[in-house]
Every structure is written in structure tokens, then in C-alpha cells.
Symmetry: D2
Subunit: 349 residues, 4 copies
Amino acid sequence: MADHGFFAGLRDPEHEHPFTEAAELEALLMVERAWLQACVETGRAPIRALEAFDAEITAGRLDRHALRRGAFRDGVVVPELVRQLRAALDEQGRFLHRGATSQDIEDTALVLRLQTWADGAVEALDAASSSLAGCAVRAPGVTTMGITRMQRALPLDWSHRIEGWQRVLVGARAALLESREAVGLVQVGGPVGDRRGDLAPVAARLAELLSLRDPGYAWHSDRRPIASFASAVSQATAALGKVGADLSLLALLGAIEVEGAGHSSSMPHKRNPVTAELLVALGRRAPMHLSAITGAMLHELERSGQAWTSERWALPELCLEMTRSAELTEQLFDQLRFRIPPPSAPGGP
Amino acid sequence: MADHGFFAGLRDPEHEHPFTEAAELEALLMVERAWLQACVETGRAPIRALEAFDAEITAGRLDRHALRRGAFRDGVVVPELVRQLRAALDEQGRFLHRGATSQDIEDTALVLRLQTWADGAVEALDAASSSLAGCAVRAPGVTTMGITRMQRALPLDWSHRIEGWQRVLVGARAALLESREAVGLVQVGGPVGDRRGDLAPVAARLAELLSLRDPGYAWHSDRRPIASFASAVSQATAALGKVGADLSLLALLGAIEVEGAGHSSSMPHKRNPVTAELLVALGRRAPMHLSAITGAMLHELERSGQAWTSERWALPELCLEMTRSAELTEQLFDQLRFRIPPPSAPGGP
Amino acid sequence: MADHGFFAGLRDPEHEHPFTEAAELEALLMVERAWLQACVETGRAPIRALEAFDAEITAGRLDRHALRRGAFRDGVVVPELVRQLRAALDEQGRFLHRGATSQDIEDTALVLRLQTWADGAVEALDAASSSLAGCAVRAPGVTTMGITRMQRALPLDWSHRIEGWQRVLVGARAALLESREAVGLVQVGGPVGDRRGDLAPVAARLAELLSLRDPGYAWHSDRRPIASFASAVSQATAALGKVGADLSLLALLGAIEVEGAGHSSSMPHKRNPVTAELLVALGRRAPMHLSAITGAMLHELERSGQAWTSERWALPELCLEMTRSAELTEQLFDQLRFRIPPPSAPGGP
Amino acid sequence: MADHGFFAGLRDPEHEHPFTEAAELEALLMVERAWLQACVETGRAPIRALEAFDAEITAGRLDRHALRRGAFRDGVVVPELVRQLRAALDEQGRFLHRGATSQDIEDTALVLRLQTWADGAVEALDAASSSLAGCAVRAPGVTTMGITRMQRALPLDWSHRIEGWQRVLVGARAALLESREAVGLVQVGGPVGDRRGDLAPVAARLAELLSLRDPGYAWHSDRRPIASFASAVSQATAALGKVGADLSLLALLGAIEVEGAGHSSSMPHKRNPVTAELLVALGRRAPMHLSAITGAMLHELERSGQAWTSERWALPELCLEMTRSAELTEQLFDQLRFRIPPPSAPGGP
């Protein structure tokens, strides 16, 4: 999409690498090479084919423009990539991509990229946890007021709220690590997903080579692994959105201040809790992406171009908005200041 | 909602009991009684209070109209329920609901009802599996044509498609059983969720009495258990929607017929695959409910009336549409007939 | 759906009639009769056929159980309805439903029912406006505090907020009246929507008889009229949700009280702004229904069972939740009390 | 967001200009200048202030990095922009932005940018219409088969389908032009939206200067204009998605071919209708963006950072995906080839 102007709150340059063209190409090459090696090791291709691959193939040698054109024409970059790779491998080229279909390569490469992203997401959550730990030290010993159903309820220790926020971060971390493991599946099905041509040994070896698991069947049109991964990611973003909602309201009530918070062009006294707003807005977007990805489970027959496309558009946005939320949470807890004593009434709302 | 006219495809009378007023009341009474018993057994209430409960309280004795009015006024039925129960228990009434808040009771009762629903959902999936097994017996030995990206791909054994549909049913069953277990948590927090008044022993005993687990904290505003349950349910419905999408397209291509399928008022020769359409439409709704429930994780501060309400509206719909999908799948596989030999061209589309 | 337990905030018994089976049947009979009359007046059927209709047909004579079974089997009730009507009309029966298809009758009947619902919705908005007018009289002359981006901004007259709420009600009223007019189209297409058999004169006369307009073509698979109607309705509900959000926050800040607001089972001092919460929750659901209905514009080829089903499920819910919101708004403004002077600080949040 | 890898089907470089930083800055300067001119012409500022603006201010002179930092800190770029402009204008600086608030400037600038985008969208639809006209010339005189509810219905002239597709394009064009006009409102409210300081004459003059209308009040928190605009745009994308769904199914049935369609890496005989798939996937995303924007109508109190942010993220995506759909439609009709005679059965699905 376009840069969308000055309001870049959605962008997450730090974690976007796994979803770039460069990372996609790197992962696709890694999978094509591992597939070839699996074929060599199971007697489907000669060792010379793999040697040729290692000698000839680098990402830099490929024609990126042609890859882009191919990706757009074919709805997936693999056909043009295979064409270029086979040309580069010359007579060994026919051993490349043996028994594979584009979706086998793309999905396996996607899994590798999701795992890389998840590693970064865990780091981002850890950084937010450190920030929260620092914030906890500053928390006042005096109690605050618990708020239920938008009404003052009973006094509440600040430590209880902080534990709740910690639980959000720790819970999201655990869920992402579990999802990183669960999504770690090779995709091996062949053209119509039935593993024709005895692909089972290739799948088993491919899984070992890439530190993934072989579920024993193709999940071309059975998108539970992706939908479950998306569910964990969206829950993390939504839970961070809860933190943002808490802090927005606490700022409104005057119980906290966000240091360095936003200025107003017309009211110099204001400090708008912009970071908390962003967390809420991101938290409200995550369910939308999850809905698109879960909807893409209606993946008709052996492979759905439409559903696959929907999934591929929504997944990077979901992931990058989650890491963005983690970064903003880190920043927000760094900026959080508790007001002691609590405010005397500044004149009613 | 209203009956919505003749088109009752959304209704699932067979599984709706856990979401009725009667079942809610029954579950609430069970939780209030178990809470009281836990208080008795941990020295917070005298045994006479429990005896009074057992002697005096039945669902039939309660004023349903007053409960409805209270539920609407208070946004939850528990305050009025507690008022009636205390009145019925006379001087023992003050021991009832000790340390509890409405959400403790409602959420724990909800968990019990979700588990009951899940038991029925597993049965409905098993029935669909039996139906599919019968259908598999009828499947022709000849191959069919695999369809990828809306184009004829390569020949494919019918058995491969049938295995894929079985995987949907078996996978949904396993996921529901796992979710049934995972959601099995007592909710014990007290008014602002901090378990004030040493509620931990009550929570532990309550969990034992209800065959649930105690997570060690209140999840009033940490809705991961509900969102995860909803994720599994919506994935089941979406995966059944995939089955519907497959069968709609196979009917269009003339590879199958659905016996007893829908009539047209203007074209007597047509047999519309109505059941398959319903599965697709239900599968497209499930992500919408999931989105609402995941969005309700933005549950501000100690308790959110708004988010809780959103969750409570979406969850029964999500569940009942899932079991409806399972029933329709059972029916659809019963009606499925394979066309052998495959159709000769009836004149182009 | 099931009754969903005690929490009946979604139900709108007062406005649900147009979406009941009885109203659907009544509207379908009205359209079949008008179609027959249009055929008579354009020379396609003898006057005796219409006389037979008027002599023989009443809703009470029809076999409701068979209609329900037919609706479920055929995905639409019209085929079985036509069968019963033709049987009742005996030899005149063959003139009934001439050139029509089920969707012609269903869609035209839907339009009539939406118009009836819209009349009730306008009344509900008028009642809310009256309630707001009463509330405005009670508004204090002193200023309140404007809140922008969750921060106190500058003093603001109460009258400015009240004008904003009035604009919501007046705007929704105008938009619904406009939409009521815009959706007032007959559906006349015949089996595949091409008006074969010279249906244009029938369409023109049908429109006159039913006080609708003839767009000059069939909109079987061109669902703009429905999507536009849904857009106006969802905007109304979302705008009423804004009112609920305003009042929730003002209650939190102590600037208003909601008389008779909800009780807590554990904190007798609380008065939860339940009605305002319901408005917010309803306002957040409306975009979900709108999304489903706009998505149903992907209505493949000449008629889509799947998309049509999705639309038919979402539309009544969207409408009834909108009128429910209007009723709750009326109630909320009746209960609204301004706190004068504004609260002194009750101890911080 | 990141580039998302090779699969760039979402990007629309041709129409993205109005949503870039450069265009935003240009529009903001235009509005600040017009506001200043309106102040001059209504006696609120001296002519020298405007002369200073014209002498000193160009986009190139501004510190873009500081603007970006300010936008992120403040949640809107205007405060930092005003700071820089005032510094550049020296003693005349205090006349700039008089009575205005950030949202006045941002929203008015947004309206100007939406109008520019809409002009391009109309051109894109016109190009698609030309392409369809060329396609219509190639359409066979023989009839095809109408498909209703995923079943062969009755023979149908190709011209009827083509007219339906034309209606989509013509209807979307008309709706966009109407929306372009309807959204053409200045935003003039001041800090809390009450037009304090007699802003009415400024609003009236500002509207004239920018060829917009003055609704007579601020719509800071009354987002109907934006939601209605979004509704028209999403309906256009969804209707183009219907065209994609039609063509996908017709390609499956063998009634059409898409020239230059996608290759498969494993099945050389295949031609995947990738462009049609993209249209469907885009059509399914549009309701999601519409849902986010309609949900952002719950814009609490005088200004909502959260809702405004949600709206600002969804709107460019909605618009650019719509023009992308129009471009793909143009390309698809260029590539569309009708198969004559219709296919004889190639062996069943």
C-alpha cells in the first residue's frame, strides 16, 4: 500500500523483514534446495543436481523484474522462479522441484518466515516486559480505585493491575512460542495434494532438513495451521489493546500521565495519550485480520486461488501490527507516570 | 431475535438448551450452591446455610419475571437472583455469595454450559462422521478430476477427497474436546478481581466441586479462555463450510448429485444443493462471530460491561451455528450421490 | 436462535413483526396476488384466475408445516407456496406465478417488509427525540468540560452536546426515510433474470400496484439496493452507539447519573450505566452485519444461494438491533440526570 | 506496511498519490492557507499575514523529519506543522491557524484528497468500461447457460451477462461521483467542536475558497460523511468482486478463457484465472474495511483518538483496493475470450 501519509502508526520496520520480497526469495530458495536434497537422499535425483544448485544459485543471480511479473501473472512467484532456476541449472534443472507444486514451496517457505517473525515477536514482548518491570518499580504503594462497568468500584492495589498487564505479556509470549512450534509443518502434496509419486519419504526428509514436522498429508486446502497461528497473534494484539484501553481511561481519570504524550495544536495544556490510542486501534484491527484468515479456511476443492490470496494479504498485516503493538507497549510503559496523590477534582468533566 | 420468517436455516433446536434461560438458571444455581459449599468447607459459612439452600431452593420457586427485569436493569441476572435466594434462605441468606461478584458466578456458569454444549457438538460431529463413512462406501472406484485454482488439474481418487473431509470432522472433534478441557476454569475474583478476603481456598474447592480447574487468578477482564474456545468453534464451522463449498462446486460440475435437493419454482429440472449453500453461508458467518469475541478482549479495566455484552451475544450464535453446520453435514453426506460415469457435456455452461 | 438466556438485550419484540413467518407469508401472498393481477391487466391471465385467488386464498388455509419443510428443502419457501396455491386454485392455478421465479417474489416481498420495518424505526427515533427534548430541558445552564482524545479540553456548553445527539437522531431518521424510498423496487426477472417472455409490462404494473418502482431490470444478483439500505441502518446503530459511548464516559467521570441504572451483586453503592453499555455493544455489532451484507454482493452468476442466504440472515438482525438501539436511547434519555455542580474529586480513580 | 513479498496484488501505485505524505502535506498547506485567507477576508487577520504565507511557505522548506516525529508523538502532524509554519512566518505567525484545531485542518485536507482519489477512480472505471465494450464486441451470438444456485438453469444470451457487468461499472461510477460531491464538506469546529469565537463566517468563506460546502456545524465526532463515502467505495469493490466470481466460475466451466492467465509450476496445461481470483479476494476485503470505518462512528465525546486512527488506517486501504479492482477489471476484460462452441465434456470433474 501507499505510505498513507504522515500517520505511520501502522508501520513496523523493525519486524517487517520476514514479509519482504528479499526474505520470501531467500526462503523459497532454501525450500527448493532442501526439496532437491531430499530427492537426492531418497534416490530421486543425482548428487550432481544438488552440487549444481550450490554452485550456480544465489538470490543475486535471479531476474527480480521477471520474478515480479511472473508472480503477478501466475498469482504466485514459484513458476517463474522454477523456470529461472531450471535454466541456470541447465541439464540438472529437470531434477529441481520434482513432484512439487507451487503451493508446496510457498507454504513451506511461509512457515519458515512465520517462525522468524515469531522469534522477533517474542523479543518485542520481552522488551515490553522489561519496560513494565521498570514501571512497576515506580508504582505507588497507595491504592487506586478499581473501575468496573465504567463506575468506581472499590479500592485496588496498583500491583494487581500491573500483574494483569504482566499476564498479558507473559501469556502472549507463551502462546506465540506454542504457535511457532505448532505451525512448523512442511507442505508436501504435489499438484493435487495427494502426494502422488510416493512423496512421503521426501516429506519426511524435507522436514528434518528444515527443522519442521511432517503432518503426513498435504494441508493445501486445510488451513487450520495458519488459522490457529493467526488466532494466537490476534489474541496478543487484542490483549495489548486492553492495556491501551486501560491506560486511556486512567489518563482520562487523571490517575496516570504519559510522559512526552501528544500535543494539541489549539490547547497547549493537553497531553493526549496517543500511544495508548494506537494500541486500542491496533487491537480493534486484529480481529478483522483474524476474520479474513479464518474465512480463508473456506478453501474450495484442491486449492483455492481466492482464499489463498485473502490469507496471504491478511497474515503479514496481522503479524506486523502485533509486533507494532508490542513496541508501542514497551514505549508506553517507559513513559508511564503515576500521579501521587490522586488528583483533586479539577472542576468536573 | 425474531423467528426471521420461513428461512430457519440458522436455528439449531437440538443443541440450543445450554443457551436457554432454563439452563442458565440451573447453572447459576449450581455455581451459587457450590460456592456456598466451598465456603462451608473452608470455614466461611455454617453447614446450616447449605442445608437451608438444599431445603429451600429450586429453580421453580424463583420469580422468573423479576429475574428477567433484573437482568435487563442490571445487565446481568445475578444481583436479582441473589436477592431472591437470600430472601428464601432467610437468616442463612447472608452466607450466600460471600466474597463473590456477579461475574464470578456468571462466568463459571457459562463455562459449565459451554462444556455441555461441547459434548453435544462432539456427538453431532460423530454423527456426521458416520454419515460420511456411509458415503465413502458408495464412492466410485474410478478417479475424478482434481480442481486447483478453479481449473481442472489432474485425475484424483475420490478417496483422497473423502479423507480430506474426514480430516475436517476428526480435526474439529479433537479441537473441541481440547477446548472443552481448556475452557474449564472457575472464575473467582470478587468485586474488583483481586480475590480480596483470601478467596484462594474457595477457588480451589469450587474447582473440585465443579470438576473445573483454578487458574490461580481471576480472568474477569482477561478473556483468552473464551477467545480460544471461540477460535476452535469458528474453525470447525469454517472447515465445514469448506466441505459445503466443495460440494456446491462438484454439484455445479455435475460430479455429484444431492438427493432430495431443493426445487425451483420456475425450473422443474433443477436440484439446488441447498444444504451445501447453507454450510458455506454458515462458514462465512463464523469468522464474524469470532471477530466480535476476539474484539471483546479489549475489556477495559476491572470489568467491561460493553465487551462482556458483546461476548455474551456472539458466543451462543457461534456455537449454535457450529452444531447446525455439523447437522447439515450429516444430512448432506447422507444425501450425496456420485455420478458414474461422469457427465457427458450437457451443452456448455 | 435460542433465547440466549436471561440476557435479552438483543431482542426487539416491538419491531420484529416484519421479520416473522406470519409477515413473510402475508407479504408473499400480496406479491403473488399483485403479480397475478398485473398478468390479468396485461392480458396474460384471465380475470377468473384473480377472482379464484380472492375467493380461495387466505394465509390461514395454507399448510404451514409443509411450507416450513419446503422452505428448508428448497432454500426458499416459494416453490412449496406456489404448489399449495396452484392446488387451491385448481384449473386457474396455472396462471399463478406466470413468468416469475422464487427470487422475484421473495425479494419484492422483502422490500415491502423492509418498508414496514422502516416506518416503525422512524417512530422509534421520534420517540427517542422526544425523550432527548425532555432531557434537554433538564440540562444545566452551566458549562461542562469538553473531552478530546480522552483528555479534558476546554469548557463546553451542555447544549452543544445535546445538539450533537439530536443530530444523530434527526440524521438517522432522514437517512432511513431516504433508504425506505430507495429500496422500494420490484424484483422482476424470471428464472435467469433476463425478463424473458416480455415481463416489462408486468413489472411496470406490479410496481404501481405495490407502490414501488420498476428499475427496468432484475437485481437478482445486483444487491446494491439491499447493501445501501443496510448501510443507512448500520450507520444509525453506530451513531446511537456513539451516544452510548458518550454517556458511559460521562457516567464514569461523574458528570451524569442514569436513574434506575444497574445494581451490583457485591457493591451496593454502584449504579452501572447498563443501557449505555448496550448501545455501545449494539453499535459495535452493526458494522459486522453490514460487512456480511456488503460481502453478499459477491453474488455469483445469475443467482447465488450462498450469498442470498448470508444476506437474509444478517438483514433482520441488523434492522432489529437498530430499532432496539433506538428504544434504548429513548429510555436512556428519560433516565439521564445531570449532576450539578460537577463532582468534587471522590478520591481519584 | 512491508512490501509483503512478491505477491503485490494489493498495491495500486497509479492511484496512491492522494494518500502519500507529499499529498497530505500539500493538502494541509492548502487548507491552512485558505483558513488564513478566510480570516483575512473576514477581518480576523491582516493581509500581511497572507502575503507572508505566500512569500515564505513551500512544502520544500519544511523539516520533514520533524514533521514525522511530531505526527507520531501527537497522533496528527498538524501541531508540529503549525509550529514550523509559525516560526517561518515570524511575527505574522500568530494569525495562522486562528480558532482552528488539528482535526479541522486534517479532515478538510482529507476531503480534498478523497476528491482527488475519486477523480482517478472514475477514470479507472471508465477504462474498465471501454475494455468491457471491446469484450462485448467479441461476445458470441449463441446463447450460454444461465447458472442459478450453482446449477444449470436455462439458456441465456451473453449480452444479458455483459449488460449486468456494465451496470456494475456504470453504477459504481455514478455512486462515486455522488459520494465525491457528498463528502465535499469543510470541517470547522475549533478545539471542542462548538465553533467558539464565531467561526461561522470563516467556515463559509473557507468552503468557497476550497470549492466545498459548509454543513453549518463541525462533524469532528459525527463521521457520517466518511462512512457514507466508504460505503459507496466498498460497494464498488464488492460489485467488481461479483464480476470476478462470475468469471472464475465461467473459467471453471470452460465457457471462457483468460488470455495470458496464470501458469502452474507442475501442470503446464493449466491457465489459472488469477486476475479473477484477485477481484474476488479484493471484493471480500472491502466489507472488512467498511466495517472498520463504520465502527469508527463510535467516536466518543468531542474527539476520539482511537476511532479517528481506525478510520485513517482503513480509508486509504479501502480506496486503493477499489481502484486496484477497477484496473484488474480493465485487464480482465481485455484478456477475456469466449469459447465457441462451448466445450464438449472433457471427462467430468
